[in-house]
């Protein structure tokens, strides 16, 4: 039997945390945990919080019982700000922005068809979706108007792939900028010889902007004093396997996993309740095997255990309960 410390203890020990990220596969309760933590920090502690989600399935809209999807930042309670990004819409807007920029730059009424087609074709790329989300996150953090940022990471690649991608991209931009500088020298000499002036390299400028933005965000994400990563896990074999894999990924990327939240655990006390149907009793007994495995594999990482609630965690009242469980983790396993 172990008793867990709960997230409150973690935050006591890590007072500088500005960003909290919940990672893990879809449908394990990441969104619930994000919302609960946001609720706690905003309502109980009075911090100015932004909770961000990209997961269109288990959505913040459901939890807060109002339509947030693609509505920008919405304050659902004092200090509790929520944003549920509509990546598709964001991509469409972004593409339109690029189209307009080209038209304006070259004084064109219509884009050349091949360029127009190229821009449209990018929506089909899965990577586009990831990048758009990541960019939105980076932008919000860069603005810096909140005390705490909580990200419900999208399910692809446990969300951490973004960090890996950011590192690749930063290196890539770095290399490009170098090549660009070198090319510019040639242009500069040609311009001197011709007696003309070399124009500023706007591509290089743009590249630097992209790099700076990404670097700032990635640096923040890998800084374990400022950013906390939590994995959400349920007592099922697939989820355990997946968490193991994710843990490896974290190690490879040099990211410290702050903790594992164990969700949907049936309290053992239920076994003593005679009104419980048999199939549920079997399920509770079957859970033990996984709990042992989890203790064995992630023991040091476990920070909180959440029970399976009798109804879906929806609405602020219910959220308050989840938040309490998350912060103080009453359950023992």
């Amino acid at each position: 039997m172990i008793k867990l410390k709960g997230l409150s203890k973690f935050f006591e020990e890590h007072p500088d945390i500005k960003v909290v990220i919940f990672a893990g596969k879809g449908g394990l309760g990441k969104t619930t945990c994000s919302a609960a933590l946001a609720y706690h920090a905003a309502v109980n502690e009075g911090r100015n919080v932004l909770c961000f989600s990209t997961d269109p399935q288990a959505s913040l809209s459901d939890i807060f019982e109002r339509d947030l999807f693609g509505k920008g930042v919405v304050e659902v309670a004092p200090n509790l700000n929520v944003v549920e990004i509509d990546a598709d819409k964001r991509i469409a807007e972004y593409q339109e922005e690029i189209r307009n920029k080209i038209k304006e730059m070259y004084g064109m009424d219509e884009l050349p068809p091949e360029i127009d087609e190229y821009i449209s074709s990018t929506s089909a790329e899965p990577a586009m979706y990831e990048s758009a989300t990541y960019d939105a996150m980076a932008e919000l953090v860069a603005e810096g108007s909140y005390d705490l940022y909580i990200f419900d990471m999208p399910p692809f690649g446990h969300g951490v792939r973004m960090v890996a991608m950011a590192e690749i991209l930063t290196a890539w931009v770095e290399k490009l900028a170098e090549a660009r500088e070198e090319a510019r020298k040639y242009e500069a000499v040609a311009a001197t010889l011709r007696g003309s002036k070399v124009s500023e390299d706007e591509i290089l400028k743009e590249l630097m902007l992209i790099r700076d933005k990404m670097k700032a965000f990635t640096d923040l994400l890998v800084d374990s004093r400022k950013t906390a990563f939590f994995m959400v896990l349920v007592p099922e074999s697939m989820a355990i396997l997946d968490t193991e894999r994710a843990l490896e990924m974290f190690n490879d990327l040099g990211i410290t996993l702050s903790g594992v939240v164990l969700n949907r655990v049936y309290p053992r006390e239920l076994l003593e309740d005679p009104s419980i149907p048999d199939f549920l009793k079997n399920k509770i007994k079957g859970q033990d095997e996984y709990l042992e495995e989890i203790k064995d594999k992630f023991g040091d990482y476990l920070v909180a255990v959440l029970p399976t609630y009798e109804r879906e965690p929806k609405g602020l009242e219910m959220l308050k309960r989840v938040a309490h469980d998350l912060m103080f983790s009453k359950l023992t396993i």
């Binding site: 990018t122 990048s131 991209l169 070198e182 090319a183 040639y186």
Partner: protein, 94 residues
Amino acid sequence: MFKRKKDKDKENKKASGVKGILYGMALHGSVTAFLRTRMYMEHLFMLMTLGDMLGFPVIPPYYSLRLLPYAVPNIKSWKARLFRERDFTDMFTG
């Protein structure tokens, strides 16, 4: 057709007469060579950024798109030259 608005007025000043001839003898070859080197670098750069336009996936297009507006004037000639036969006699710069 792809001239930047602000660049439209400062079109090639064409040197002529004796000055032009001297420039042609002393410098034009070098300028051409520089610009060509620049062009090869630009090609490489375009391939690295907009490679997916030709079917080489390189980076998430999200960031390519951001660079696209600046590359617009080069895209046509880039594609044309990439698919055009390059040859050892093209490398000769006189």
